[in-house]
């Protein structure tokens, strides 16, 4: 895989996250290399989504450090994290249901739009120029993800698989350095999964975007991911290439269950 020493894009160190007495994440450390596809797997309630929420600033761990681009990151709010180039999608689709696909994707450009509200209200001059530029970029993403045919369809009326794709489009519209995908293939049929896998690989290869994803479908994870982190009951169970993880006894036990 990576012959030369990989550059570490993000590192989480000894994260502890508690909600009252419930311990969600307990002393977890791992890193994400630049340009890789990093999978986070684990049984239900293992703390995978919490981990993503920690990375994108939605949760603030009681202990632990997050290093991003070689610097220790102070406690940040999600929108501040987004400005640093981290985009995400959600497990239970979080789109604006009444808006069309293109409108949803355009919201992904919000952070890059600089003209103030007055220019935008005028819809003239620099604001329009800016909008045209951003629209072009969004159209490229729409073309890339092959959702041209639903450009002007309200997303609420779209089938699940397509909504997931629109969500990915919105995240890509941010042109992120790090893309967090929370179960991008949940509830999809085989064909939709194939499509989605293809898009994830293409995003990774064509745009060079680093991707961290949570996924339950092991076949998909083993195919897509360069390295895998396994969590169980908030603890780090294993970390390595798909092959290593697959043959790890602790992982097999966690997934299949062992008599105590």
């Amino acid at each position: 895989m990576n012959e030369k020493a990989p550059k570490i894009m993000m590192e989480v160190k000894n994260i502890n996250l508690r909600f009252g007495g419930v311990v969600a994440i307990q002393g977890v450390s791992f890193d994400i290399h630049e340009g890789e596809i990093r999978a986070i797997i684990g049984p239900n309630g293992a703390g995978k989504s919490s981990m993503l929420n920690v990375i994108n600033g939605f949760y603030h761990p009681q202990e632990g450090e997050i290093w991003f681009d070689g610097q220790k990151r102070p406690s940040m709010e999600p929108y501040e994290v987004a400005k640093t180039g981290i985009a995400r999608t959600f497990q239970n689709i979080a789109l604006f249901k009444g808006m069309t696909t293109i409108e949803n994707v355009m919201t992904g450009r919000q952070l890059q739009m600089n003209k103030n509200i007055f220019w935008q209200m005028l819809r003239y001059g620099p604001a329009i120029e800016e909008e045209v530029q951003h629209r072009k970029r969004c159209e490229e993403i729409i073309d890339f993800l092959e959702i041209n045919h639903i450009r002007k369809t309200p997303v609420g009326s779209l089938p699940y698989g397509l909504q997931k794709r629109v969500e990915l489009a919105r995240a890509l519209a941010m042109e992120p350095n790090l893309l967090l995908l929370d179960e991008p293939m949940a509830g999809m049929n085989v064909e939709e999964k194939q499509d989605m896998s293809r898009f994830i690989v293409e995003v990774n290869e064509e745009f060079g975007t680093t991707i961290a994803l949570i996924e339950h479908d092991m076949a998909v994870v083993m195919d897509l991911a360069d390295r895998v982190v396994v969590l169980d009951y908030g603890k780090l169970l294993a970390d390595g290439t798909p092959k290593e993880v697959q043959s790890n006894q602790a992982v097999i036990d966690a997934y299949l269950g062992v008599p105590h």
Partner: protein
């Protein structure tokens, strides 16, 4: 045509004419990144010259066969034209063909280059390229997903254009030399037939034949450079080649390419073409979609639709064909136009349609009347690949649903004693590529070509009337005529029935296979709270077979009124457990039933229909989209339908 066609007898000459006459008019449009991009004739010609030079540099020789595969887009149309400029022979292929099908055609014509749309096509060609003798390079249009491919034999069309745009007197000279060598008798295109009867054959067409036939058609319907059309039909189909390339070039009309197959409907609405060509299944699908939506509409809308559609049925055609209609009926039609017809046409994208064509298959009278009563000038034409399509066309004021028109200029027809239609035409093909036996079987030494269709000249209208494929027409044991397609089309008119296959030649009675239409039946199931997970499950639902039984009996009733066809009534039928699929070779890519193949493949089902069993177990091989194979197992129930007596006797 007013221009001297003896001079304008090649595509390069037509292009030069268009540049000088209509230089700044739009020639090609494509929707890209959500916006319609336009190229004028001048700009298109520049692209074609650049591409031509780039291809020469790449090593394309005169006489080389170049495969062109992909969805309709200007760069691929330019590729066809560029090949014609440099004396190479373009071979358009169906983009949804699986690799093995492509292998057959590419090795048969010995293609040395391929110009393809995207990664999917590149993958297919790479898969088979080792087995293709003399195959050299691939040129692709869309670079998506191809970043990591080995680029030694793979070139981006952008690079080819770049090479062609460089200042090179040598290339200019070579291009000029090659263009001058292209004459009317040079091969213009090699088109493979859809192959209803086994392996497809390569039809060699010269520039003169293509331009002759399309010129006649243009003249017939007075195409001008103000016309514009949507090119969405497969580029490998002769119909698209004739319309988008030959007729478009001949008239200087503008070709509009949709973003992709899924957006065709939306793009059609945006473009609102002045000329539209659709095969019967498309007209059928559009009508089905209209009726499904009306089913879901509110009571008042539904009532208004039904009321005015009934009125349109009564007087719509008379108004379109400029016959006498009472003032009150005219006013009512205008009101209907304002409330229903015009919005409906707008929704379908037919607001500006001057002429709409249907061809390729027989079309049901009901379907035909539906569109004409709305004021859409839908006309039939008849032709085939071997004739550069156009044999007969209908004039604006002599349109009938059961005939296909009169021979156009340059075409002579004659009916053989066997009932088969023969023709002599400017558009007649030169030969079947590397198949002199088939050529001599089809075309006699005097130039008469056998169509393989049975038909006759209708005495009342003077127009040609097609019965069926000559070899499909048979006889029942009783001696009654067996014309399967006639009955199948009647069945397919019901929105619930997508496909039908009739059997009965040399048998006691007729039986049928049916395919349900997932859109229509699925909509019905949703309304009636019937859950299903797959086509197979829905198809085997007993209520669905009851509905189909009603349809079949209605057809039987209609057939009973026709003394010639009454023997074709369907006594038993079954609903197939899978949709007939071109990937399984059951229908052609243009959705024509491959009768012999189906007969053989479903031998067990046919014999079950002629037995006394109430159901049958079967196991069928299916091919998935990625080429893998699997098996479907099912138990199909056999439904009996009522047969009606010939009604003349009763009255």
């Amino acid at each position: 045509m007013t221009e001297n066609s003896a001079i304008l007898d090649t595509m390069p000459k037509l292009l030069a004419r268009n540049v000088s006459k209509f230089g700044d008019s739009p020639a090609f449009r494509e929707k890209d990144l959500g916006i319609w991009q336009t190229w004028t004739w001048k700009e298109s010609s520049e692209e074609i010259q650049k591409l031509s030079k780039g291809l020469i540099k790449l090593g394309v020789q005169e006489g080389d066969h170049v495969a062109v595969i992909g969805r309709n887009r200007p760069s691929l149309y330019w590729s066809l034209l560029a090949c014609q400029h440099i004396g190479a022979i373009p071979v358009p292929l169906y983009q949804d063909a699986v690799a093995e099908e492509m292998e057959y055609i590419l090795s048969h014509c010995g293609a040395s280059f391929a110009i393809v749309g995207d990664q999917e096509q590149v993958d297919k060609i790479l898969e088979i390229s080792d087995r293709l003798k003399g195959f050299k390079d691939i040129v692709f249009v869309d670079p998506k997903g191809l970043r990591k491919y080995d680029k030694e034999k793979l070139h981006s069309i952008a690079d080819i254009l770049e090479i062609g745009s460089g200042d090179s007197p040598e290339l200019d000279k070579e291009l000029k030399r090659r263009v001058e060598k292209v004459i009317g008798d040079t091969t213009c295109v090699l088109l493979y037939t859809s192959g209803t009867t086994g392996k497809s054959k390569g039809v060699v067409q010269t520039h003169r034949a293509i331009i002759g036939a399309s010129g006649g058609a243009n003249q017939h319907d007075s195409w001008t450079h103000d016309d514009y059309l949507l090119s969405y039909l497969p580029m490998a189909w002769v119909g698209d080649f004739m319309i988008s390339v030959a007729q478009g070039m001949g008239a200087g009309a503008c070709i509009n390419c949709p973003e992709g197959p899924e957006t065709m409907q939306v793009d059609l609405r945006e473009i609102g073409p002045s000329i539209f060509f659709g095969p019967p299944p498309l007209w059928e699908r559009l009508k089905t979609s209209v009726f499904i939506r009306i089913e879901d509409a509110a009571f008042f809308k539904k009532a208004a639709f039904n009321y005015f559609m009934a009125h349109a049925e009564k007087v719509g055609r008379d108004i379109l064909e400029k016959r006498k209609v009472g003032l009150f009926d005219r006013m009512k039609y205008s009101l209907g136009n304002f409330l229903i017809y015009a919005p409906l046409k707008n929704m379908l994208g037919f607001s500006n349609v001057r002429i709409a064509y249907t061809a390729g298959d027989l079309i049901s009278a009901e379907l035909f009347d539906f569109y004409r009563s709305l004021g859409i000038n839908l006309k039939q034409l008849y032709g085939q690949t071997e004739a550069s399509v156009f044999l007969t066309m209908q004039g604006n004021d002599e349109v009938f649903s059961d005939t296909v028109g009169k021979p156009i200029e340059g075409v002579e027809l004659k009916i053989a004693s066997s009932g088969e239609i023969l023709y002599k035409s400017v558009g007649s093909f030169k030969e079947y590529y590397k198949n002199p036996k088939a050529t001599s079987e089809t075309k006699d030494k005097d130039g008469w070509v056998a169509t393989g269709d049975a038909g006759y000249i209708d005495e009342d209208t003077g127009q040609l009337r097609i019965i069926d494929r000559a070899k499909d027409v048979g006889k029942l044991k009783s001696g009654a005529l067996f014309a399967p397609k006639y009955v199948e089309n009647k069945l397919k008119f019901f929105p619930n029935i997508l496909e039908a296959v009739l059997f009965g030649d040399k048998k006691e009675f007729c039986v049928a296979f049916l395919n349900i239409d997932m859109t229509a039946v699925g909509n019905w199931a949703e309304k009636n709270n019937i859950s299903y997970s797959s086509y197979q499950e829905l198809a085997s639902n007993s209520e669905v077979s009851n509905i189909l039984k009603e349809h079949v009996e209605e057809v039987n009733k209609a057939l009973a009124k026709d003394p010639v066809m009454s023997g074709c009534q369907i006594r038993k039928f079954l609903v197939l457990h899978k949709e007939l699929d071109p990937d399984d070779g059951e229908i052609t890519r243009t959705r024509k039933v491959k009768r012999a193949f189906i007969n053989e493949k479903y031998d067990d089902l046919v014999s079950a229909l002629y037995s006394d069993n109430g159901s049958v177990d079967t196991k069928t091989e299916v091919t998935y989209e990625d080429g893998r194979k699997g098996y479907l197992e099912a138990t199909l129930s056999i439904v009996d339908a009522t047969i009606y007596q010939l009604q003349e006797a009763a009255e």
